[in-house]
Subunit: 383 residues, 4 copies
């Protein structure tokens, strides 16, 4: 599907969540027989949903509850939890700050140093509560953070940057050695974020236990405006899934692919799986849980960038408890609650008994024409 | 028209009502010579429009009037009519309830049990009024409902679920035996909803007297948001029509295909026929009739879902009498009135003397650009 | 460019004004050397713009002014001018009527009978003022209207219906004999509206002196909603132009093709010519002239349809004098004024010295993304 | 990618900024190792951004600052600076004029004659401040303006018209001799604006030191409405870049291609480079600098056109100092500040160490669906 955009420049047509829809086939499976479990780093999870390493989405309390419900939450080791003893008070202040000037307010708060002691304490809090301790750092801070976190009992380590690759060229610093880090880490290491077949393959060859897919996804995402970068998630997921399958054939090792970013509802989750994902990572949807660190608010990691902020604090509201968000009952019909129920029903309708079968289900290109929403509402609210 | 969305994942381009337009040819037929009749289950209808089995669209009174006008209305046997003796009072309460919390209100009302006695009574009311008694139930309730309804004189039975297929895999229950049910039912059985060539073919082979086409059609339909599922109706209809034609060639039996969901106006009806439909099923447009059960309001069957509601009560307004909606005169120019007149004029303009000829008419891909509406209005209102 | 929409149904991709843009080449022509003249029925016109036969666009006064300026205006013989002696008073009443109920108001006024005497009077008024008398009727009224109009001195006769074809099948009436009418008429006969190669070819073979192109063009046009019919004008124009060229090669007779409907500005006019048109017909843009019959208002011929109205009265405002609309100076930058100046400048930029060269100019598919308008305005207002 | 729009008319699919996105690959480059320098007319610039020759964007003061920061500003020799001794006072009056009637107000002010003395003075002011004096005139005024400017010390001369070509056909005037002008000018001559491979090639063969790309770019740009003309910039840039590469292969001379018009943010700049541009030219974004001539306002050169105005004065607001716009820190996350920082980060993410490598980077077709913005904001603000 490559087109010539002009001269000799070619570009591939790519697809996002809103451009595809799922297609039921001639077989329906009883929702009760649908298995949505998956594995990461040798550990089996009943729910293929991860809570993203955002300060507004995950604190130890939420991580514990997420584990209890069968999912996985990732704690940000470069954020408030690792910088402030009384992180909850700081989060409250961020939630309470007026919108005007909130970016500067956040930037200032993130100037406090990260403390190893706090990293260890957060990990211990999660473990003490019976949760799985998954933590995230950037390549810059990964070494030190990993040492503190693993010693305290961390179960999984995430290394995340805007574009996570094995190859980094620099005349200033020694690149972060992905393969060496994965080999030496005593716990499974998930790496991201990435897009593209080749980059994914290289991360898997380097020993990643999982790969996060998604760089500037979505349609009006700030990084697409600021940097021009942004690969729609359906295409990005399918590309990385192809790398996973080829790597599996070659190595015998199955490295799950986790779609991260741009997902808004149950429909997007189902589409990501059909595109090839093994699981999905959610940010704002989780930040809207009653158990979230700063209930009702969320902000991105790039908000605190001093010279090129790519995001701000946004109000996400509180939609319900984490259990309701994952398993219902849903109080709203916008697809942001009972996500697992929705995924099960979608899989049932598409005749998929498990995630591997769901990855083989059919999708169509079916552009949404959202501007017609108003006039359609009448007829389709009851469709 | 398959494209590669990424990796090895392929998807077919699909089309909805708003992406196509009909094309007049070199022949025009006198509208008075246009025949819009069709047959279902051995019965001939003068009007290829069915009223959907929604509580806000069909009660016995409307069914009688719809029959009288040449169409067919389907009564919902899982709704208020089969649960409450004084159904009209309950409908009035739903119509009068404040929007805030209306989903919960509806959910509660639908907890009352379905009574065989009421099923029988509704059928008898329709028959007594001279109407054709077409009734609808889900696979779960079909057996019991059919017994009561047929005994009371029902003429046609509809079995409807979100995705209606012959094949249902379950380790918990015995699947609904579509073929057996059709074979044993003393009246013709229409089955739905479905999309896809293979699923349609299997339903026809199982003995369905008609097939309802449409799973999550439309562009911002809740099931597309919640489940990711939704096949645009032009493509869905054309796929099912192809199955019908092949099944006819193979079996000699003609099983009409009824496009159900997402239709908003006369233009959509004409497009559905050109895509291959034999008839269409309307919900909200009928709920806007003065004779409708809860004039001015409509709500979907999935609204009452306890843990995953996919719809709410919407205000549709009252556009006119059922006769005006079907035959005019139209008081509005939005295509929601004089639907049969509009279909006739469209067929006339396309040189189609009957529905079979209309199915062969030409359509083009002609995306509507609704956001330009405002600036276009000036020039095109008089175009 | 045919695609499979589903099953065995195919559809061609079609294009409207907003989906294409014109491309300058390596040659620019001095605007003063650009010739925009064309011929219709043996008569040469300096301006390739016709005023449409709408009661809100053309009365004798405007027709005279339009002739004087080098264009051509067509008077509607089925409207107010042919039904009321004091047409101006009736037009004033329509302009003054409240929007609420205006359709019914118009329907009532159009119930007054057409009078031969008034047809003759309007033609004489135009001739007396030095104008070219072009008049329009429907196939139903053409015979009688033509007799009265020609006798009074009409120069050109237009036969217009929603879909104008040579072939009309009816068991009720004798079809309007296009070929016979053209042969017998003592003045050139322009026929429309049509779309499609075959239908255009047949009209030309029947003797039409010109063909009007456009059936339900535009994006949210009422006939697309009500009937599903509507062929985007770039495709429709190019199809008809191909028929014209083939007919010319075969017969030696050049029958101009006039794009009618959906044009809003100078850009659309230039695009229509590049698509193959010899001239364009404008309605609302002309109705916005200070000299228009009901300055500031316009309504379509289908507004008065008793049982299926497809349009209403719309406010178009007054943009300037007819001379300013055609030749400037423009007071606004929306492309609705100085239409001829804009066409000249476009032709100059594309290196086209005359309309035949302009028909060979280059266009690209360049979808407008109007919803981005707001955010673009800043950067592009000065682009 | 040519399609048949109808009949025998073909059109190429073209692409604008909003339809593409950039794709990171398996290599990331340290942003500190990214080189964004380029050369024009034998002069090396550290920043590939030019300020456009608009009266609202460039005066001598801004030109000096732009040079100091590593970029280049072009002064308009047909505008206020060359017509009024106290240009600043006139600019203040334009900025202060009420919106109502501002076009007429501007038209009147531009009736004052251009004075050679003032041209010389502005050039000297720039040189005196240590700036690079780049000036712009139209083909009509180029000869006289060049003489005055070069004598006063101008470093670079721009000849700009709506469509700049080598070939101009006229029976009224002697065409502007591009090749002769370039040959005789004692300073490098940049010519524009153009689109298309052939036109670009001819300008390069005529001796242009640089070519400005962009004729009516953008989606709702006035010249697309008024004239129908407008080639989306990604396609236009790639076409011209192909001509540059072929001309280089043939002649050994590298003539940079500068994308001018329609760019709104850092993302668009990065995309233009990937499409093949060597540099970009910005208007409104620069007019929003605190140092701009009429801080907060901008108006196009075609605003003053007496009979066919194609633009008006728009409010652009003041976003920060020129330094902040180019190098940050950014106070906003909309991509209009820290443009160089954004370009560096984009290049880093795409593994491009310099602009030539960036021209080879990957882009995908990824339509933005801006109307979904509202509903997406929640999830993607933190994506």
């Amino acid at each position: 599907m490559e087109v010539l955009v002009g001269g000799n420049k070619r570009a591939r047509r790519s697809y996002g969540f809103d451009e595809v829809a799922l297609v039921p086939g001639p077989l329906v499976v009883d929702p009760r027989d649908v298995d949505v479990s998956w594995s990461l780093g040798g550990r089996r999870f009943e729910v293929p949903i991860l809570a993203a390493a955002l300060d507004g989405a995950v604190n130890p309390r939420l991580a514990i509850e997420m584990s209890r419900l069968g999912g996985l939450a990732v704690l940000n080791l470069d954020g408030v939890q690792a910088r402030y003893e009384d992180a909850e008070a700081v989060l409250e202040r961020i939630a309470a700050a007026p919108q005007e000037g909130v970016v500067g307010f956040i930037q200032k708060l993130y100037e406090a140093p990260v403390k190893d002691e706090l990293i260890a304490r957060r990990v211990r809090e999660i473990k003490k509560g019976g949760g799985i301790a998954a933590v995230s750092a950037t390549p810059l801070t990964a070494d030190r953070a990993a040492r503190a976190a693993v010693e305290a009992g961390a179960d999984l380590f995430f290394v995340q940057s805007t574009v996570g690759t094995v190859r980094f060229h620099s005349t200033h610093v020694t690149p972060f050695p992905v393969a060496e880090f994965c080999r030496n880490a005593p716990v499974p290491v998930v790496v991201g974020n990435t897009v593209g077949y080749q980059a994914t393959l290289e991360l898997m060859e380097a020993g990643a236990a999982g790969v996060l897919v998604g760089v500037g996804p979505g349609h009006i995402c700030t990084s697409r405006k600021v940097l021009g970068i942004g690969v729609p998630q359906i295409t990005a997921t399918a590309d990385c899934a192809a790398a996973r399958d080829d790597y599996l054939a070659r190595s015998g090792r199955y490295v799950p692919v986790i779609t991260d970013g741009g997902l808004r509802n149950g429909g997007d989750i189902a589409k990501a799986i059909v595109a090839g994902a093994d699981a999905v990572m959610l940010g704002s949807t989780i930040a809207a849980a009653a158990e979230a660190p700063a209930p009702g608010f969320s902000w991105g990691m790039a908000t605190s960038s001093a010279d090129l902020p790519r995001g701000t604090r946004i109000k996400v509201g509180v939609s319900g408890s984490l259990r309701e968000i994952l398993f219902g009952p849903a109080h709203r019909d916008d697809g942001t609650m009972n996500l697992v129920g929705a995924l099960r029903l979608a899989m049932s309708s598409l005749g998929a008994a498990n995630l591997k079968e769901m990855q083989q289900a059919e999708m169509v290109i079916a552009p949404s024409l959202p501007t017609e929403g108003k006039s359609l509402q009448r007829a389709q609210g009851v469709g």
